[in-house]
């Protein structure tokens, strides 16, 4: 399963499909997860001066290809935070659409008095709970973690998700050692996500 899909499952309730984070944090976190997917394919490289993109054939996945195309279409470098904001505007629904096509989510319509409420709900509660359970288990048992798991752990911390799972024992030294082995671009991405989420807390708008 792509990183962004797993992070979507982590950031949403495994039964109701409701978000576990506030809207800005979900947007930033999922945008970062999408960029992380492209990082893993070596197509983009987040750095201090901006997100560099490699002109290469588009990846097979349609959403990843679209994001790659959006990066290629920009005439200049943009800072990581601007990409997080921009991609964050639509990341949640884009990923939900991809996951629905893959059969992980289903669009459920509930009739209300005047409107129809649409929401994405996990098809299988067990599958939806798996990424979080796997990550927490590996952190607790201090097992070897894959690069993807490390990125997910970093994003969970960056978005504040770790506090809802009471991962506080994982913060601090252990967490920094989990992230430290990641490549520089991914670490920049995680740090910028954390910064964007914190700035959203400190701001009125």
């Amino acid at each position: 399963m792509p990183i962004a899909d797993e992070f979507y499952l982590m950031t949403h309730d495994d039964v109701s499909g409701d978000s576990r984070l506030h809207a800005k944090a979900v947007g930033f976190g999922l945008a970062a997860a999408l960029l992380a997917e492209l990082c893993m394919l070596d197509l983009v490289r987040p750095a201090a001066e901006g997100v560099a993109v490699r002109n290469a054939p588009p990846p097979p996945d349609a959403l990843a290809a679209r994001v790659h195309g959006q990066l290629l279409a920009e005439p200049q470098l943009h800072p990581v935070r601007d990409w997080l904001t921009f991609l964050g505007l639509s990341a949640e629904s884009d990923i939900a659409v991809r996951m629905t096509a893959a059969g992980a989510l289903q669009l459920v319509e509930t009739r209300r008095l005047l409107s129809v409420q649409r929401r994405y709900m996990p098809v299988s509660v067990n599958d939806a709970a798996w990424p979080t359970a796997r990550l927490i288990g590996r952190l607790r048992r201090q097992e070897e973690m894959s690069v993807e798991d490390r990125i997910l752990a970093g994003l969970a911390f960056a978005t504040g998700l770790s506090t809802t799972f009471a991962w506080d024992d994982v913060r601090g030294r252990k967490l920094s050692s989990i992230i430290a082995v990641l490549d520089e671009p991914v670490r920049v991405l995680i740090a910028e996500t954390e910064l964007a989420v914190s700035k959203a807390v400190a701001k009125l708008t």
């Binding site: 978000s19 576990r20 984070l21 506030h22 809207a23 800005k24 944090a25 750095a47 201090a48 959006q70 279409a73 920009e74 005439p75 200049q76 943009h78 800072p79 990581v80 935070r81 601007d82 990409w83 904001t85 921009f86 505007l89 970093g154 911390f157 960056a158 978005t159 504040g160 998700l161 506090t163 809802t164 913060r171 601090g172 030294r173 967490l175 920094s176 992230i179 520089e184 670490r187 920049v188 995680i190 740090a191 910028e192 954390e194 910064l195 989420v197 914190s198 700035k199 959203a200 807390v201 400190a202 701001k203 009125l204 708008t205």
Partner: protein, 499 residues
């Protein structure tokens, strides 16, 4: 920052940015004109017993306009949600910056807590007039406290459009009152309120100046939005000067109209008579407009006090959060709610302080209007005056190192004149603090309240020096706000971000 229009990213982000009108309305909603005149200025007349507040408003308005030139110029070069302390850090050094940060937390805290007093006093007066029920002020204050606490933790901001509607309604009713007051003078349309003789009175001038500065609190908000504004050069300047202009016009006109309605010689006595319920304006207007317009104004005063209370609560909480994340305050205050995105740690601290103050005032049966709203509110205003003076000096020193393309007027003349005026105002206030509180110089509060700033300033400087020797990286980042905060996930070399 500017990018060719062909960029999908740039145009999507630009669509989200704020224009001058939105930024100015954020500033004015925290200001609440009815509360400023009906609460702050009327209480000023009652306690200081000087007629010349309208002239004081013009004087402070002019000083703040001069101040704004340098202040807005700083916002073009330093982006931070905690404008005062980050400017002071950059201009006067980090120890002064930490002292300013703690003073700001204290000052805005006092302003917020003081609002529980006017809400309780005006609310219980309103219930008595409209429904003939007697409710103790502190019960209403506790209800407001509970609402503020819950809304603060769930990060609910009152919808900005609703705030704007209430603000427009307030302005309309204030201007209607002004017309009525001026049309029905007690003894001719007198300009005595603007006569220097009625302001420059030894032992009272400083009190008038601080009360007036308190009335203008909120005008300093626009630079906080620099990063989210459409055009950081024009938007913030326009919002700052525009907001200040509206405030000066409405406040000076209304304060003067009130003196005309009562007759300049009676304004002090009338204010004293109505201070406890904060209803002087409404009683006077009711004589000519009938009870509907009087009650409408009274209701708006109570609702705007609540809106201001919540807005200040959230402002203080965000400010505290930024300082905690930066490492200047304890890290536990940087705790946030994942689901709400609220600065939970800081918000709880603010609520605990509010509850403690309300309970102390209720138990010791202190007066909510005089001892809570006025004493603590004015002490908060004095803190803002200190920050304004410090920031003026910081502007001069900041641009002395590097002109950064700013004009002589903006970086030297205007800030030097405003610094001299504001420092003089601070000195006058310290001298006249007893007059302002209405206690004379024998009461301990006269020294304790302004002395709090000296205390936190000393703590701030000492703490900054401790940080310098123990945590140099943290010390170096002071004044950068959230940007400066280091966390476990930061890469060894934190990404440099363009300012």
């Amino acid at each position: 920052m500017s990018a060719p229009p062909s960029s999908a990213l740039s145009s999507a982000l630009a669509a989200d940015r704020l224009g001058s009108a939105s930024v100015a309305s954020f500033a004015l909603t925290a200001a609440a004109p009815l509360m400023v005149i009906g609460g702050v200025i009327v209480a000023g007349w009652a306690n200081v017993q000087v007629i010349g507040f309208p002239l004081g408003i013009l004087l402070i308005g002019a000083a703040l306009a001069l101040f704004t030139f340098g202040y807005v110029a700083m916002s073009r070069h330093i982006r931070n949600a905690g404008a005062f302390y980050s400017y002071i850090s950059q201009g006067l050094g980090r120890p002064a910056g930490v002292a300013a940060a703690l003073s700001a937390v204290l000052g805005y805290n006092l302003l917020q807590v003081g609002l529980y007093g006017i809400f309780g006093a005006a609310g219980s007066g309103l219930l008595a007039v409209m429904f003939n029920v007697e409710v103790a002020w502190w019960i209403l204050a506790l209800v407001a406290w509970l609402a503020v606490t819950v809304l603060g933790l769930s990060r609910v901001e009152i919808n900005s459009k609703l705030l704007l509607v209430v603000l427009v309604a307030e302005l309309a009713i204030v201007l209607l009152y002004d017309v009525v007051f001026l049309a029905n003078p007690a003894d001719g349309v007198s300009f005595a309120a603007f006569a220097p003789d009625n302001l420059f009175i030894g032992g009272a001038l400083g009190a008038v100046l601080t009360v007036t500065v308190t009335a203008f609190v909120g005008f300093e908000a626009p630079p906080v939005f620099a990063e989210e504004s459409r055009d950081s050069r024009k938007t913030i300047a326009l919002a700052s000067f525009g907001g200040l202009g509206v405030m000066v016009f409405v406040y000076a006109l209304t304060a003067w109209a009130l003196t005309v309605a009562t007759g300049p010689d009676n304004i002090v006595a009338q204010s004293q008579e109505h201070a406890a319920q904060a209803d002087l304006m409404f009683v006077l207007a009711g004589e000519h407009l009938g009870s509907f317009f009087a009650d409408a104004g009274n209701v708006l005063l109570v609702t705007s006090a609540f809106a201001a209370m919540l807005s200040y609560h959230n402002t203080v909480a965000r400010y505290t959060f930024s300082l905690a994340r930066e490492g200047v305050l304890p890290r536990s205050l940087a705790r946030t709610g994942a689901r709400s995105g609220a600065p939970v740690g800081a918000s709880i601290l603010q609520s605990v302080i509010g509850l403690a103050v309300i309970l102390v005032y209720a138990i010791f049966q202190l007066d909510p209007f005089t001892h809570l709203f006025f004493w603590l509110g004015m002490t908060g205003g004095f803190g803002v005056l200190l920050l304004l003076a410090g920031t003026s000096v910081a502007v001069v020193l900041y641009f002395a190192k590097d002109k950064r393309g700013e004009s002589l007027w903006t970086r030297v003349i205007a800030p030097v004149v405003s610094a001299l005026f504001l420092i003089w105002a601070v000195q006058q206030t310290v001298r006249d603090y007893g007059t302002m509180l209405g206690t004379g110089d024998d009461h301990a509060a006269r020294w304790i309240l302004p002395g709090l700033y000296l205390l936190v300033a000393v703590i701030g400087v000492v703490w900054a020096l401790v940080l310098r020797s123990t945590k140099p990286a943290l010390y170096a980042a002071i004044g950068k706000g959230v940007e400066g905060g280091k966390t476990e996930v930061a890469p060894a070399e934190a990404p440099k971000v363009g300012v």
